[in-house]
Structure formats: C-alpha cells, structure tokens
C-alpha cells in the first residue's frame, strides 16, 4: 500500500510562492512516527528542511501542522493522523516561514521573555535550598513541563491576530508557573504587567491550545487562574485588584 504525502515546500531563494509537493512512499509495515517518515523522505530528497533534535517529545523542535492539527512529529504515530493513507504536513500556522516546515519563532520567544520567565525573590537566599512543601510544589505540576514547541500559541486565533500584544497560551502558562510558585515574591508586579486589555484578556477560551498541547498541559486553565487573580487578587498575598483601585 502507498502513502501519499503532501508537503509544504518553500525555499526563499528559488520560489516566489510556497507550494505543496506530493511524495509517494510505500506504507511502512510498522507504525512509525511522522518524524521517521520525514527522515525517510529526506534520505531521497535532501532539500527538505525541518527542525528536529531529541526525537522523543521533550525538546520541542519539531512542532508542525499534521493533517490540519498542530503536534510534534516525533511523537505522533502515523496511525493516529492518517486520513485514508493521506498525510499533509505544513509549518506551524501564523508565523513567518523561513523554509519548508521551518518557521521564524522570534515573536513567540519575545512573548516568552516578556513575562520575565525566571524566579524573582526579595529575600536573600538561605545557605541551603529555600523550603517548599510538597503540596506547594504540586502547584507547579502541569506548568513547568512546557517545552516551548509553540503548538499552542500558533493554533490560537487570538495569537494570530495580535502576536505582538497578546502574550499567547505558552508564555501565559509560564507567567502562571511563576505566579503559582511560593518562592516568587513579585506577584503584584507580574500581575500589573499583564493587566492591559491585550496581554491576557485577548484569550476568549477557544481552547485550541488545550486540544493540541503534545504534553497534555492546559494553558486555558492557567489563563483562567491569572484572570481571576487579576480580578480578585489572592488573600494570602494581599494583591490589589489591578485596574480597579
């Protein structure tokens, strides 16, 4: 049996416009990953370009649009995505394409940097570690595991519209990761920087982010938490209600 693979191709030095190129390959006996298939195609056509590194779903290099849905090529088995032996591979939507499946992620990284993705504390660090109860540490589960693959942000219509002003699900998940960390003392400042009409509030709960996250994380829930912190503050931290004082 044959597989029909339709691949988004664009080389800025040769092509005026991007185009879809069809490849026919013998359907592998084993159920392989989309990345394995790409590697097979590249052995025959070395010009095909895509990013890849860990090939086990932890480095976040090979996010792409697979038969209409964003995902990581290395942990997406063909059996899960094939539609009648057809496979269409496109770059992540919404970001400028550099070549083939490779997008320019600058805007995505800029939003990440904007939320100050590092622990900030007013207290002098002790000689040993800062203590944190297992219950408080549990609050970071589902947040710190993000691999910055951009599958979520590039599936989000709000991010497509305002990639410069809406922080996007990936970076907001990280914003909440630091808001939720009992060791961080800059909650008020962090919230103030997110309180404008765009940074968080452009999220309208479409939930594409949740549906595509290859790590099973839930940016929508984190965004909900940020919104509620912005509106009510948290009692223990006595956070002022941003914008309402």
């Amino acid at each position: 049996m044959e597989l029909s693979v339709s691949l988004y191709r664009y080389n800025p030095e040769q092509d005026k416009f991007p185009y879809m190129k069809n490849y026919k390959v013998k359907k592998p006996e084993k159920d392989i990953m989309v990345l394995d298939l790409l590697n097979m195609l590249k052995e025959d056509d070395a010009t095909i370009s895509y990013r890849r590194s860990c090939r086990e779903g932890v480095c976040g290099s090979d996010g792409m649009n697979i038969n209409g849905k964003n995902g990581l090529a290395c942990i997406t088995p063909l059996s899960e995505v094939l539609k009648g032996n057809k496979l269409e591979l496109r770059p992540l939507p919404g970001l400028p394409v550099i070549r083939d499946l490779i997008v320019d992620m600058t805007q995505f990284y800029e939003q990440y940097e904007k939320i100050k993705p590092f622990l900030q504390s007013d207290t002098e660090p002790p000689e040993q570690e800062r203590l944190q109860s297992p219950q408080d540490r549990d609050k970071l589960d589902g947040l710190y595991e993000c691999i910055l693959c951009a599958c979520c942000s590039t599936s989000c219509p709000s991010f497509w519209w305002n990639p410069d002003k809406f922080v996007g699900p990936a970076a907001l998940l990280q914003a909440y990761r630091f808001l939720a960390d009992t060791r961080d003392t800059k909650k008020q400042e962090r919230l103030e920087e997110l309180g404008d009409p765009f940074s968080v509030y452009r999220c309208h709960g479409i939930m594409n982010c949740v549906s595509v996250c290859p790590k099973g994380l839930n940016p929508n829930k984190a965004i909900g938490e940020i919104k509620s912190m912005l509106l009510t503050g948290t009692k223990e931290d006595k956070i002022k209600v941003v914008g309402l004082e």
Partner: protein, 596 residues
Amino acid sequence: MNKVINISNKSNIKEFDALIVGGGGSGMRTSLELAKSGLNTAVISKVFPTRSHTVSAQGGITCAIQSADPNDDWRWHMYDTVKGSDYIGDQDAIEYMCSEGPKAVYELEHMGLPFSRFENGRIYQRPFGGQSKDFGKGGQAARTCAAADRTGHALLHTLYQNNVKEGTNFLNEWFAVDLVKNSKNEITGVIAFSIESGEVCYLKAQATVLATGGAGRIYASTTNALINTGDGLGMTLRAGFSAQDMEMWQFHPTGIYGAGSLVTEGCRGEGGYLINSDGERFMERYAPNAKDLAGRDVVARSMVMEILEGRGCGPEKDHVFLKLDHLGADVLNSKLPGICELSKTFAHVDPIKEPIPVVPTCHYMMGGTPTNIHGQAFSRNDGNDLMVSGLFSVGEAACVSVHGANRLGGNSLLDLVVFGRAAGKHINEELKSGGGVDNASSEDIELAMSRLNSLNESESGYEVADVKKQLQTCMQNYFGVFRRGEFMEKGVKELEEIREKSENLYLKDKSIAFNTNRVEALELQNLLEVAEATAISAMMRDESRGAHARDDFPERDDENWLCHSLYDPVEKKLGKRDVNFVPKEVEAFPPKMRSY
C-alpha cells in the same frame, strides 16, 4: 555564502570577551557565570538552547545535600564515583565536584529549579546505581536530587531563564565549523555561520569554551538526540589536539527496545527491576548486594550475557524486561510520569500494567577534550600536559576526568553545573587580570574556513545519508558493549574507507537559507573524527575496565593500564597519561577489586 572574511574591514567579524560554543547545561552554566561578571559573553548554539540534549536527562543530579539522609557525606559520594570510574577518574577533580556540588545545587534551587520535595520541604533525593553510605560499607544511599523524572528539562529551562535574566547574548541556530588557531597555537575563536541567513563570520574571543556535549550518534542505536554529533571534539581533533579516554562509552542498561529512548535509572531507584524470559530477577546473580543498582557497565553487561545465553525476551529473544507494575499507579504517576508517557508512545506498553522492553543503548561519552578543573584544555607535548591558550571545554565534551571508565547515574548533571561554574569563574579572573590571546592572521582564518568552502564547492561525491549509515553500522558492530581485537581491527579498516568518503561528500543543494543538508554534512565529518578516535583507542587498550569490555582481554590490568589513554589525531596513536591520585583534603582511594 561568503567565502572570505576580511580582517581589515571587519564586516564579518563579531568580537566577544568569551564565546561559549553550545547552549546545553554546561554551556549555559558557564555563560551565566560570565554574564553576571559583566564580561561581553556570547553563546552560539546550533539549536535554540532549550532544544539541547540536557533536556532529555531524567532521573536527577547526584549530590550529598544531606536531605534524604542528614548524615550523608560528600566523601562517600567521592568514594562511589572513584569506584564507579574503575579507578581512572582523577581524584582531585572528583573531590572538587563532590565537595562543591551542594553549593552548585542550592544555586540552581535559588534560580527557581522546581525540585520535587520531601514532607519537610527539602529537595527530594532518590537512590541511584552505584551509591553507598560509609564508603561502601553502609548499604544503599539515596543521593540523587530530582524534579520528578524531568530533572534535565527543569535544569536546562532554569538555566536558559536565568541567562535571559542576566542578558547573555545568544547566537541561536548558528553552526560552529572550526577553531581559529594563531601562529602561537592559541585559540582565538571559531568560524561559524548562521543556519538561517548563511552569513559566515569569524567569532573572535579571548576565551573559547567548547560545551558541545556528546556524540552518541556515532552509534546506530543511542539514547542521544539527533544533534549529538561531537562538533566540539571534531574541531579539536582537526586542529590536532588530543582526546582522552575515547574508548570509554557508556551503554545505558535501559534504552527502550527498538526506539532507543532512555528509561531512567530512577525506575530501578524507585524499586523497579530487570527480568529475563524466565521471569527471573537476574541481577541477583551478577551483583548480589546492589542487584539492579550496580554500576551501569555491570548491569549492561549482565543483560547482554542473559541475551547471549538464550534468556532474552520477545520473539527474537534480543531484549529483557524492566518490571515496574509492582510499584503501583501512585508512585509511577507521581515519581515517574515522563517514563509512563515515553513507554506508551515508544514501546506501546503501560508500565502500570506491563513491563517495558529494554536493551543496553549507547548513552554517554566518558572521554573528551582533556581539561583541568578550571575547564582549561590541554594537549600533549613530549609527554607533558601543555595548556592550549584560549581554549576551554566543559560538560560531556570535556574529560576533566570525573567519570573515568564508567559514569555513575546523576553525575552528569552535577558535572555540567560544577565545572560550567568553575570555568566561568576562572575565565572571569583570567581575563580581568589581563589574560588573553594574540590575533589570528588572514591565513589562520582562511584555514579554518577551508572545510566549509570545500563542501560548498563540491561537484560530485558521496551522499551524506549513506556515509552516515555506514559509519553508525560499523561502530555498532565492532565497538559495542563487548569488544574483540580482530573485530576492532576490521572496524578501524572500514573507518579508513569511511573517512575517505566523508572527506569527499557531495552537497547537491547549495542553497543558503536553512540548508539542513549542509549542517548534516558538517556534522558527519565531526562524527567521523570522534568515531576514529574511539575505534583506535578501543583497539589499543588491551584490558577490560569499566565500560570497555574485551572478551579477548577480560581482566583489568592495573600494571599497564591504570592510566588515561590519550589519542593523538595527527599520528593516530595512543599515548598514556597518569591518573591523579592526589586529592587535597582526603586520602586517595587506592584501586580495589570492583564488585557490587
């Protein structure tokens, strides 16, 4: 792509105080130290830094922080590491790593690393292989600090985040081609190009730090990322500098059968164990005390013995099982969530219900560019260590040597942060007290450009994918878990042919923007350098020690080989170098029979 760099108009020259090649754990720990010191520091990385292979480390970072056991002692950790190394780890370096370790780990916690916790709020520690209390006399220790089973991910992201905070310059998706060496044999930077734009530059620096990680891709089956192609070692070997202990490659006992993905030793630390086709917990026979937590070399060899003696699992009887289901869903979901995910994806088994099929898989390069504890690289001259001015190396790319012939689990992440930090501190002091290197001439720069230029000008030759396959098959067949002289000789011969081919690659696609085929061709030439160093070193060391197991020389030979091997890439010969047995604070641990 520009073929020339003009020194006089400086248009393709970028100048820094310190240049770090590689954006993994060791590189970013070095750059963090330097960025904080105010030096103009840049990190060049062929991938966005959080895509580096440190991200795949799972089980943890081993360090005597006295959390699981208030009486733990870094000297016990040192003893275990020396024993694990089969006595060719340098004891001054091991002493430094184990005693400085707690500071480096607390710093990571202060930076925000989300370590798992004990009820008292301290960092969670789990048992790992080769760990003991009281110098091997007090039973199993629990010394590996963990963030669930995603410690490498947590560590790498934390380091990237703190580099963002300190304003480190990143040249992301830039590829370093070769070292620039001036007439005084000093390293003055690298030739590199932007993978996206094709711009070729001379990145000039007073200190060049190679933090390029391992090269597991010399083997067909490896836990390593596709990017682990030994780019730093390729550069030093081409520049004529020595490489140390290159025969020492760790085969991790538990790579997922068929896929090669790593299953952390933490699984056995939490109580998992290996079984053969009879359902027998066979490690009880090979290592009656430590059982499944013996050194990795011991466990890997035992697994291969089981398979060779017909007790392997599956229709081909070519793997064994890692049993975890008895630990229960709660432990697996809270302590090993990533493993549950990986097993379902790559082995199609749910470890809560079924065992995972595993097989020893190439995992870690104990050898590398020889350095002292400050990361300063040296080469050999008439049997003496000779510092290479301007050149440093840290992490898996370096051989300092704390792992000797066999690395203990959890010591890799510790190595990265302890020696990354040490190199950063040293470079800061050296440059601030007026140290540095002379300029390179146009000819020196041209020489460093020649590999890239000849590839770009190739009009015929061999396909990258074909030659890479030949290389990986050769290494897998002749230089695996067990080695034999006659096979290795055959392998070395084959590598000569493969070298010929790898020096005559054909780059059909000459396009500039994100030409991954060009990158892969350059990586293949680096793999070849590392493979050849490995092969010749392995063939010449005629004894068995640590990860280097020969069926024609099954015994350890302390009389002739209680030493480092030092590979000379110019003569393609193996020399010897003394192991350090002079730690500063404690008595040296003398070589003993190694049993677990």
